[in-house]
Structures are given as C-alpha cells and as structure tokens.
Subunit: 252 residues, 2 copies
C-alpha cells in the first residue's frame, strides 16, 4: 500500500493566513504529526487523530510520519510558517535520504506564509530589496559559521531575517550577533522585533541597532535587521519601514 | 475622507495559494490596480473596477492607487507572490516617503506565498538552511553590487534564490551570474529553474551549476542555487532536493 505525507505550512498563526491548499490537505488527512502548539491550532474531526511531539525530535517525528504514510494512510505533518524555512520539510527529506526508505510514499509539501514575510507586511517592506534568511541556532550549525554568514550578509548590504534568535538554552547568542553586526553596520540601522505576528499577543518593536538587545526577543520572535539604505517613515498610524528598490552606485 | 490601500500578494498563480486574508481584501475593494496579468487572475464583480498598468511604472502606479484611496475608496494593489519581495510594497512605501503625502490613507499589506517558497516546496527543501534572496535586475541596482552580493552569499554558504533572472533587455546577466558562482562553488551544485510554478505551464528543471545557462530561464522563472551541502535524492516519483539542517564544523 502507498500513502501520502503532506508537510503543511500553517503560517505564523491566524487562520486567515492559511492557503486553500493547506486547508484541503488538512481536510484530507486522517493522521497528524507535529509540535503540540501547531496541532492545537487545528479543528480536527472525530475521525482525525493527532500525535503531538516535542519541538526537538524532528527526525524521529519525520520517520514516524513516513512510517504511518507507508501503511497507506494519508498523513499530515504540520509546521508553523512555511515548512521549507527552518521547519519540517528538511527533516522529512533527511529521513528519506538517510534511511533510503519509504520509496512508495507520496510526498507533498504545501508552502505557507513564513514569519519574516508576515512581520515585513506589518511595517511596509523592510525586505523590499536583497535579503538573507538565517537561523541563529547553533544546535546543528557551528557558531563560527553563523558569525561568518552574519558578517558576509551585513557587509554586502543584505537585510537579514533571523529565525530562532534565542531560546532558554541560548539566551545570549543574539547579543553576540548584534555585536557582530554593530562592527559592520551603522548604529542607526533599524532592527525589527516581530513577536507572535498575527496572534493575540503580537508585538512589533523597532529600535536602532545600537539599542538592540537579546532580551527584546523570545522564541516566538523573528528579528529583521535593515540595511544602510533602509528607511523609517513616520505616519500618524505608526511608522513604515522599507528598504528602497534603488541602490546607488556607491553602495556595497 | 480617508480610504484604505490593500497591497495584496496573490501568490505565484493558482487560487489554492491565496490566503483567506487576501481573498477578504479582494472582496472588500472597489478599485484595483496592478500589472495586467495579475489583474486577469481576479474574478471581479460588476461593481469592482480594475486599472491595468505596465509592469515597469511601479512608482506611478503606487501614486495612482494612493490618490484613489485618499478620496475615501477601498483600493487594492495586486502583486504576484508576496508584495514585500521584489513587488509592489516597496514602491508604495517609496511613494509615501518621497511625496510626504496621503497621511490619512490606511495602508494594509497582505502577505502571500512568494515564488521561491513554492518552487522549493515542489522539490523538497532546497532553502532548508540559511539562504539569500536577490533580484538580478540592474534596472535599479548597479551590476557591481549584484556581483559583490553573489560572491558574498555563495562564499559564506548561503543557498541563493534569484528573482528577475532575465528579461528581454537583460538576456545575458544570468550567464554572468552563473560564471561568478562557478568561480566560488563546486561544479555539481544543483541549480533549480522553477518556471511558472503552480500554473498550467509549470516546468521545474534541475541541472548542475556547470551546465546552468541563462537560456534555461525566462521572466517567469525563479532560479535557486544550492550550497555545497545541498543533496539530490533520487525517488521513483522524481528527485528530492534539500539542504540539510546540519552544517559541519569544516564548512564556511
């Protein structure tokens, strides 16, 4: 028997950011895997079953979902945001690659609104020109690689979106990152802390790089660092932040 | 009178990638601005009017939409993909900034599925680790800046998603970009040409960097260049391409 594994992006939180494709996949699936807070967003029918897991055991969770699909079931692995951006799609691909198993399972990845795009939309267009997207977690990546990438991106004039900026086990790395960026970038560059975007406890703050601190972020925060060209425009309804499309000849 | 300007991301094409928020904004608006092929996707009611424009006059289009909203209308500017990624949100912000006008217009940016996420979802997780997103157009950015950014991103180990890879006026820049990348990266790195993703004429091709050529792309293509760690896994249903979450100590 062959089944299907959908790897579905739920977006950052609210149902209005779900796509039609994601809704259709959720309606079709009979068995759901995922991190408990993401599964809690779903209004499952009595015939649909959810298996919640810890946020850290991603490869085991991928294998369990593939095993279930291999029995012929239609299975849904849910991710926050987009499954391809620091979420479950890579773990599912890794499981298939490492184990050389589940040849008959149909894999369908369903894209979603990833946090940086939702945070950017709240403020204008801070990612309106070239940008980099990085995870700040060194659980799977040496800190020296993170440091090299931060310097390369900032020096070349990319805006930077940081996922996983802090965790309980990594409370100070974001301060290290800000110190590296203060080495390469002007003090007044806007730093956006986009917390829980779209959820009831959403909080979006803008501070100059000189004042950015790790304690302004938590695990639910996406941090966006502007470029030397990024502008803040004050309006009665609140500031707009955008990175212009035009780059002068003198820029990096 | 004060009106509202929605800047709405339609996603790469099919209706199933529209979010609920985008559908609600389209239902509310009375006047629509945008590039004609994007407006053609909408099934407007008789009481809704569309004003199509050329793809190049983005700032003029933004001003016209803001002017209409300032008369009290509910206006919708449509973008393909996500409006904040090489699309209309930055042009609207620029118009507000340059002209210091339209203080009472409510600006609502509605995020969408941007092309690189849709292309990545078709194949697995090629953007599953740190990545950069760049426009290859030098209409608004000097080529020297593009070259510097390509080298910085590739050397630091980022995957790279290229928007606007070619146009009729710029048929050879993508070949210049591939030549730069061949300087910095191994020959066998996978290059993905994701053309018209989600549309009836979708075509996704994977070639090694050594064989990547500009004539494999057109204006509807998003090009994704992997990293030295990106892997291709052959499956009966077609290859998976993903960039692992784990980065060894010896990597850049």
């Amino acid at each position: 028997m062959t089944g299907t594994l959908f790897v579905v992006g739920l977006g950052p939180g609210p149902e209005y950011w779900l796509t039609g494709e994601a809704q259709a996949a959720i309606a079709r699936a009979e068995l759901f895997f995922g991190y408990a807070p993401y599964l809690a967003r779903l209004a499952l029918r009595p015939d649909q079953k959810a298996i919640a897991s810890d946020n850290r055991e991603e490869l085991d969770r991928a294998r369990a979902a593939l095993d279930a699909a291999a029995t012929g079931k239609t299975v849904c692995m849910v991710s926050g945001g987009d499954p391809g951006v620091f979420a479950m799609a890579a773990a599912v691909c890794e499981a298939i690659d490492r184990d050389a198993a589940w040849p008959a399972v149909t894999l369908e990845i369903v894209p979603g609104i990833t946090a940086m795009l939702a945070v950017a939309a709240r403020l204008g267009a801070p990612l309106g020109n070239d940008f980099c997207t990085m995870s700040l977690s060194d659980n799977l990546k040496p800190w020296t690689v993170i440091e090299t990438r931060l310097r390369a991106a900032a020096t070349a004039g990319f805006a930077i979106a940081l996922y996983n900026p802090v965790s309980k086990a990594r409370p100070t790395q974001l301060d290290n990152a800000f110190n590296i960026l203060r080495d390469c970038l002007p003090n007044q560059i806007p730093v956006i802390f986009g917390r829980a975007v779209g959820r009831p406890d959403e909080n979006i703050a803008i501070v100059p790089l000189s004042e950015a601190r790790a304690n302004m972020a938590d695990m639910a925060t996406c941090v966006i660092i502007g470029t030397p060209l990024t502008r803040i425009v004050q309006r009665a309804a609140g500031p707009i932040v955008y990175t212009p499309r035009f780059v002068p000849e003198t820029s990096q």
